[in-house]
């Protein structure tokens, strides 16, 4: 009596484990979901999402070059020479100051301090004479193999949205690789674009090897 049952149980267990196994295995090299900790907890959700800053304000090369480009630190300073902390923090300080009726002093968020340190700026955001600015080493997330030549220009020109490849970046506190970015993924998108066009516009997305490999 018990024999068939155990057999069935075992079979079921085997099946389950096999399925989970297959599900678990990703193709080698696929970094989907890669979400490293960055030296500065920069929030795309805050900047691109809540504050509605255009992607290309910072990644300004995206429409002129192969690389979208990581913004140079002077770009950050365009705003952060003025904005040194979150609004709420500033408000609190102001209220506190009002209560204690003193002049509100400038609040400086810990994360931004890292930026200022890198730029060798003191509390008053003046350059520290004997220190030199050192760039911040961000962790690169969307990293294609060296034998692939992806060109942001071409895709922006063809009015492909950033989100198509980078996912809902404006919702990400910390950026992660949203798509598979495998060759198949690219090729299928190109095929699809040729069939249905992009944003209602008829396009020619080449499928030659030399589109990406040279």
């Amino acid at each position: 009596m018990s024999k068939p049952i155990t057999a069935i149980v075992l079979a079921a267990a085997l099946a389950v484990s096999l399925v989970t196994l297959v599900a678990a295995i990703r193709l080698p090299g696929s970094n989907q979901g890669y979400e490293p900790v960055q030296p500065i907890a920069y929030s795309h959700k805050l900047h691109a999402g809540d504050l509605q800053i255009q992607c290309m304000y910072c990644h300004s090369a995206a429409d002129k070059s192969r690389h979208a480009g990581i913004p140079a630190m002077n770009v950050c300073m365009n705003c952060h020479s003025g904005v040194t902390a979150s609004m709420t923090a500033v408000r609190q300080e102001e209220e506190a100051a009002k209560k204690e009726n003193r002049a509100a002093q400038t609040i400086e968020s810990a994360e931004l301090r890292k930026l200022y340190d890198a730029l060798a700026l003191d509390e008053t955001l003046f350059p520290i004479s004997d220190k030199t600015a050192t760039p911040i080493a961000w962790k690169r997330i969307h990293n294609l193999p060296d034998f692939v030549y992806f060109d942001h220009r071409a895709h922006i020109t063809a009015s492909v949205t950033c989100q198509t490849c980078h996912g809902p970046i404006e919702t990400m506190e910390r950026v992660r690789q949203y798509e598979r970015l495998s060759m198949g993924w690219c090729v299928n998108c190109h095929r699809d674009a040729n069939e249905n066009g992009i944003a209602g516009k008829q396009v020619k997305a080449p499928l030659d090897c030399v589109t990406c490999h040279y």
Binding site: P28, Y34, A72, W138, D151, C209, V210, Y214
Partner: protein, 1008 residues
Amino acid sequence: MPDTPKRYWLSVVERDTPEEVSRSLENGDPEFAPTRRSFLKAAGFTFGALAASSCRAPDVDAIPYVQQPDGLVPGRPLFYATTCGACEARCGLLVTTRDGRPIKIEGNPDHPFSGGSACAVGQASILGLYDSLRLQYPTKAGQRVAWADADKEILATLDRMKQEGRAVRVLTSTVTSPTTAAVIADFLSGFANGRHVSYDPISSAAILEAHAQTHGARLLPQYHFDQADVIVSFDADFLGAWISPLQHARGYASRRRASETSPTKSYHVQIESRLSLTGSNADRRLRVAPGEVGHVATHLAAKIAQRAGASFAAAGLTPSSFDAAIEAIAERLWNARTRGLVVSGSQDVQIQTVCNFINQTIGAYGVTVDLSRPSFQRSGSDTQLAELRAELARGEVGALIIAGVNPVFDLPDAATLSNDIKRVPLVVSTAERADETASLAHFVCPDHHYLEAWSDAEPVSGLVSLAQPTIRPMHETRAFIETLAAWAGKPQPALELIRAHWTMAVHPRAEGGLPFTVFWDRTLERGVAEVGPRPGAGAAPSFNAAAATPVLQPGGTSADGLTLVLYSKIGMLDGRHGHNAWLHEMPDPVTKVTWDNYASLSPETARRLGVEDGDVVRVTADGSSALELAAFVQPGQHDSVVSIALGYGRAGTDRFGRVGPPWFEARPRLEPVGVNAAVWITSTENARQYAGRAVTVTSAGRRRPLASTQVHHSLEPPGSTERRPIIQEVTLAELTAPPAAAPAEAEHPAGHVEGDLWPDDHPLEGHRWGMSIDLNSCTGCSACIVACQAENNVPVVGQDEVRRNREMHWLRIDRYYSGTDDELEVAHQPMLCQHCEHAPCETVCPVLATTHSEEGLNEQAYNRCVGTRYCANNCPYKVRRFNWFDYPHEDRLQNLVFNPNVVVRSRGVMEKCSFCVQRIQENKIEAKRLGQPLADGAIKTACEQTCPAQAIVFGDLHDPNSRVTALAASRRAYRVLEELNTQPSVRYLKLVRHERPAAAAGGEGRNG
């Protein structure tokens, strides 16, 4: 970067495999006995590792600028106009930089010499910038020293010399930079006995001396080959390494293009004793003994004079065996009159005066020979050099500053010279590298590489150009003029020195009266400016016929003795680029030999001596030590001649023993590359002589196989007289004859063949890339080879690998001989991937690594290739190149020269010409971005871009108005091996001969 897929996985697994597993897997530790448990454990670990690895890749940093420089967009190149410092010709360059480092040198389109093209040497010179063996800081007696200290000590010594009134000498090569000249003058003005001595390692002093005699002015005329209908060259390799090759080649080529519409072509006679690159392009070639040159020239002069009603060498001129030929040449030359041009590379002043006489008589002066705007590219004086050597010998020189030359290497009798130099109290060298001379100097104050430095040049009177840095100096080097200014007691940055001099001496000569800053900025942007001729140089001196001294009888050569001819190669010049692996691996345009110099002998002589290619011979000249080098059999060379290239055997070139893969059968060369033939240079009172010395050649009984990229030189295979229709030729007559006479396509089935088995599985919409190569313009100068190498990250494989026929050049130039040694005809054929419409390689690749693009490209996906080499076997053109090993750069610093737009191929994959697809993509995307149509000529392949003869045209065959489409329709167009129905995208334009030489009369093989 190489073999990325492999590294991509494995490194991941390696990094993520738990320590203990990997360790125990390596040294099978006891705990890892193959029991079931341990096995399962291992399996578990490894699977875990794999699973983990599939989730995470290695962290890669992305580091932005702190302050992004203006105008710099990451990933986009910046171009700087500058001036070439690779030789004294000083052509204009346009240097491509990426992220602050130069990666490619191209010609400056605005420069009259280069017009966009650059020679092989100029382009290769970028590799020298990243040479880790460059001197990186000043040294005193070989020990590192700070600039300040060096300056202090040197200044002190110089002051002492000043007090003692000792002689101070600045020894340089020809100085084409007005500022440098001024700075030197300024420096020397501080000394009672200071003099600037300049000499050219490859001297052309005889021309200047001859003009001093015949025209009363020591000038080197500027030759306008673009004005010449008939060119007679006595041993002048003006397309190769003579004075200003690029300028000459462009001018020459402009008169060589013959088409149905304009069926004209300049007539070029080469009278020479060895087969030079220039000779290989000649329409008529006389093979004469070195001693005979002057005699032949005199005969020509006499015949011209006779036609002009004058008389020359009327008395005592012995008859010449070439009389008939000379008569014919004289006739043509006389008919061309002012459109004729006679040049001579001879260092015999007498011969030069005869040439001047001819040019004067036909009225070439002012038309093809320009004395009003003379050339400053070779102003060195061998007389002054001789004096300096005498002074050194007498120990009179107190301080010797050596800049840009390497006398101990360049000059004969080096032992004495170096001893004399050692006796000089203060010797300072500004050499970029620790060369033979620098090793004798007390101080070495290294100069910048020219791509790091501010400089200027005036190669020919009235043509001034600026050189600006394309990268911040990589080491603690200092510009020569800064150094000299510092020692003159008024240190100033180079830029200031140049600006100062230009305000004073150059700007006033500029027309248009622009304010200086505007003039400066425009010149800096454009790289070059035309200004008035340099005062004091030029004008139109009067001609003194009496000064032209005929050569009445041929200089005799001893009975069976051989005459030595030293020459300089297009790649090596005088050896100053001996450190450059690209140039060593570039096959000599004529011999196709790489990585060596050799003793060339005519087939007849080789037979007589019983030697063949690669046999080591001992060459002995009376009164100088014997040298041993490999023999090379050179068709078309005179039987009495042994010709050897100068510029080889540089100290330190043994470094190239490291080039090439290390494996147990590798035979890397550990001694220097080649031998230094300068020991055989002789001197007459006013010119150093490279030819005419009697030598004996004996077999040394050893072999040193030469690394040649082409071993078979004829289109007639052994045992057959049928010439393969790979090179096709027409005569000018046939060109204009009615189409029926010689239709280009008649020989071969054109286009799609009946019953074609090929499926139309690659539809061609949009573009259809194609190329056209004009065999008639191509001079074989090999600039395209280096251009391709630099653009496409083609590796250097080293002598041993080339010996094994494994050179990697994507573009090679095939060279075929036809005719007899006396009537030798040469054809150069650039051969690259033909991007066949029906590519044999594509059908056989098992993994679809090579496929056909929708735009007609034969694409090669390196990262898909598994390396079966089936495609290479099946390629009828043999243009596919295989990475037999990893071929890394000599040192990692040189990786900076890599073109970031092209993958560096790994070991075990096939590669080949891609029609510079990276440029195609770039321009297509850019055109789309700007919403403009892709203009014809917007995309230039590297080879096309640099070709001085503009023989290569790339474009869209689907565009009815493109140049390629027009050329494809030309009657001269044909496709190599068309009968195979591979349907290449590359069309060649037939070679146009003036007439069919007797040697190959009626050979229908020539026309296919």
